[in-house]
């Protein structure tokens, strides 16, 4: 469903991504790992249109993304979360989820006098999502007043409200303890069961190895390996990238 061909990103003299080829099929879970600064978030930014590519093409369900703007790309069915949690700070928990539904319903000037019935369906959906993430009881609180783990879950709920075909999660387990990580794995499984393809960046190997069908490894902007968790764990290049070359 998503195809990246020959994608490069340069910032002036710095090459963040070089010649990346990537293919994502429907209904699988993909992981993206690599040392810090390898270019993982940059890759997400390119896919979602927050940064323009320097070279290459990104096709999603047949559509070329590199010529589209980010709001057009999300309307095609791609949603994401952010590494450093970017919720809407002045809005409540519920409002954060509701605003994500705007592209799926009347949200222009007509929304000022919108009929109640149409709204009801969306409200119920928002309720379902928040209950799934265990946040319904906090729906009226300011989003920034939530605990760290709750904020991460809210970000995911918000992304899901877009009803995406492809969900990009940027370090969703960061800062979570074991129990929370277990819960996250369950959530991701649920999301997969509902038909959404998941592509996640993670440093927590338990999460990555535990749930991903295919893992891609980035180092210094280059894709150095791609395969099943077993393949990756055995791959020398990957081990070297993370642990450094053995001297002597």
């Amino acid at each position: 469903m998503l195809e990246m061909a020959n994608v490069s990103k340069k910032f002036g003299g710095l090459t963040a991504l070089e010649n990346v080829h990537l293919r994502l099929e429907k209904n699988r879970t993909y992981g993206l790992i690599g040392p810090n600064g390898a270019g993982k978030t940059t890759l997400f930014n390119l896919v979602t249109g927050l940064l323009p590519v320097s070279e290459g093409s990104i096709r999603f369900l047949g559509q070329e993304l590199t010529s589209l703007r980010s709001h057009q790309i999300s309307r095609l069915g791609i949603a994401r979360t952010f590494q450093n949690i970017r919720l809407f700070p002045t809005m409540t928990v519920l409002e954060n989820v509701l605003v994500a539904q705007n592209i799926r319903t009347h949200s222009g000037i007509t929304s000022l006098w919108l009929l109640r019935d149409g709204e009801r369906k969306f409200r119920e959906e928002a309720e379902f999502l928040l209950k799934q993430m265990g946040l319904w009881h906090k729906r009226k609180e300011k989003s920034t007043s939530l605990a760290y783990g709750e904020q991460r879950r809210l970000e995911i709920a918000r992304a899901l409200a877009l009803k995406p075909n492809l969900l990009l999660l940027d370090e969703p387990a960061a800062g979570m303890n074991e129990a929370e990580t277990e819960e996250l794995l369950d959530r991701i499984q649920e999301i997969r069961n509902m038909g959404t393809t998941v592509f996640l960046i993670e440093h927590d190997m338990n999460v990555v190895m535990g749930i991903c069908d295919t893992i891609s490894v980035l180092n210094f902007g280059k894709l150095i390996a791609q395969g099943t968790p077993d393949d990756i764990q055995a791959n020398e290049g990957v081990i070297e990238a993370y642990l450094g070359k053995e001297e002597g």
Binding site: I73, F88, P89, V99, Q101, T105, S107, S111, L112
Partner: protein, 287 residues
Amino acid sequence: MSVYIEGVLALMGINILLALSVYAILTTDQLSLGNTGFMAIGAYVSAYLTVKSGFPLVPALIIGALTASVIGLLIGIPALRLKGIYLVMATLGFGEMVRTFFMNFEPTGGASGFRGPMGSSLILIYAFVLVFVVFFWLLSRSRLGRSLDAVRDDPEVASTMGLNVTHLKVWAFWLGAFIAGVAGGLYAHHMFYIESSNFNFLLATMIVLYVILGGMETFWGAVAGAVIFSILPEALRFMKDWRLSFYGAVLVTMMIVRPSGIITREMVRNFEEWLGRIFRTEETKDA
């Protein structure tokens, strides 16, 4: 009602509209120091139509406001490329450009001003105020309003949620220009005489101060700020000529201790909730 009080109320109504025009643009995190430019356009166009072309008042007002808003669009689109202070300065430049333009524009009197527009009344002014207050109230509870909030909070993230940030920002500019244009038209037809120096930089900054004082977070803040500034001269009679110093000092202090202004989002939410509890009927589950 005495003529004097009528005058104060009329100007208060116009101030409310001006404050709302600044607020409208502020909803998308853009600050306009040039709404006096839109006000001037609305004033001169509507005045010209009624005085020189015999148009009836309300259509003339609307046309004046539409002219201002179209120009708002023309400004808003390229202005989007500008960040932060550049945008502020561009709006400032725009306001001054319009003012100096009308100072030289002979068909509307040039430097000697334009005499003649009349027909405004308290009812008309407050009809418009009511229309826009209702509009902003509906906006605050609508999906569009939430889109605007998202754009203001984090435009990048908003774009990844499918919101067309550019559209929304330009739309906000259009709206602000329209409201300022209405205010200008009403002003002209209330004052009977307008000249370009009425639409000066001092006024442009004052209307921003209304919004800051009243509260930038909700439209009620803009209304409250305008009301306070319009009534205060009376209440602060004893201060006489030191009133402006007082305003300045209060605002500088406010930015330090309570930058959100008098009316906060919290306050309005709580109030609406309280109202909701009192008038609770068979409704959908809250939210």
